[in-house]
Amino acid sequence: MTLLPELGKYPEFILAAYAASLLVLAGLALWIMHDARTQARLLAKLEAKGATRRSARNRKLPRK
């Protein structure tokens, strides 16, 4: 077994297909992770300013 795989007569097409897949999927994953971090940061900032959700406010109400 060699360290480099055998790619036959059309290596450029095989490598281009895998490179395009890596590029698109890495881009998608980075975009989703960036969006997740941005929203978590925005939510934390709002909550730090004292904004609370309706469900959280209702939990704080004393039971009758």
């Binding site: 055998e6 897949s21 698109v24 989703i32 939510l43 904004a51």
Partner: protein
């Protein structure tokens, strides 16, 4: 199905429709699913490049099949998720169904785009052309446009609930394309080869090529759900941010009166 089982199942989906409960479940599942995706991808790539033999007709270009076929399957699975979620959103008004449908669209669009691109890169050395307007290729291109249409609809309509309803109707109407894609190679004379894995009488592929293909398909399916669950969690946070901003605006306008 007994009444008790049906009620239990309905109860499970109702519990899952609660965004807070969904977030907890997603947080528990995501690290395991991410690890599984990474391990399966490493094994699948090793098998694809080092252990799978060249095909007797297609030679080493069969390596493109190990990514092209899973991408095509996931392109269809993504749209099936959107269709089922859209029904859940329209009929039962489950908030998480709406979130699932919206967030699956860009992920499904990426997998469809990759199925088209890797198919073109496989087609040129094997068929002598990047593209032909045959039924399989054209119906997958239509699927890609459907994904783009859904994404555009979510962006174009400002009110999230109206956008959700309009997108759900478009998604359900567009789902007629799924059986067309699947059976296009049987119904019409296409350059694209007929089904060779999912077919009556079992797969027509030798296990030395079938096993790496199934491992890669499992890896990309895990990756799809990792991305989808993360995007769904982000959408829930986005809606909480919007709700909190509205609360603050309402409070500010109430105080100024």
């Amino acid at each position: 199905m007994t009444t008790a089982t049906a009620e239990q199942r309905a109860g499970f989906f109702n519990r899952l429709a609660n965004p807070t409960r969904f977030m907890g479940l997603a947080d528990a599942i995501l690290p395991w699913l991410t690890g599984l995706a990474a391990v399966l991808l490493a094994i699948g790539l090793y098998m694809a490049f080092f252990t799978a033999p060249p095909d007797y007709q297609q030679g080493h270009t069969v390596k493109i099949m190990f990514i092209h076929v899973p991408f095509a399957w996931l392109a269809m699975m993504g749209y099936a998720i959107i269709t089922v979620s859209s029904i859940g959103s329209l009929v039962w008004r489950h908030p998480m169904a709406d979130v699932a449908a919206k967030t699956a669209a860009p992920i499904g669009a990426c997998f469809t785009f990759l199925a088209l691109v890797t198919g073109m890169l496989w087609g040129k050395p094997m068929w002598g052309t990047y593209w032909v307007w045959d039924a399989r290729l054209t119906s997958v291109l239509i699927l890609f446009f459907l994904y783009l249409g859904l994404m555009a609809m979510w962006q174009a309509i400002e009110d999230a609930s109206r956008a959700g309803r309009a997108a759900a109707i478009l998604a359900i109407v567009g789902s007629v394309n799924l059986p067309v894609i699947k059976f296009s190679v049987d119904w019409w004379n296409t350059l694209h080869q007929p089904a060779s894995v999912v077919k009556l009488g079992g797969p027509a592929i030798h296990p030395s090529i079938l096993v790496p293909l199934l491992v890669m398909a499992a890896a990309f399916t895990c990756l799809f759900f990792v991305l989808h669950l993360t995007a769904m969690k982000t959408e829930v946070l986005k809606r909480r941010v919007q709700a909190l901003r509205m609360t603050r605006v309402d409070a500010a306008s109430g105080a100024s009166k």
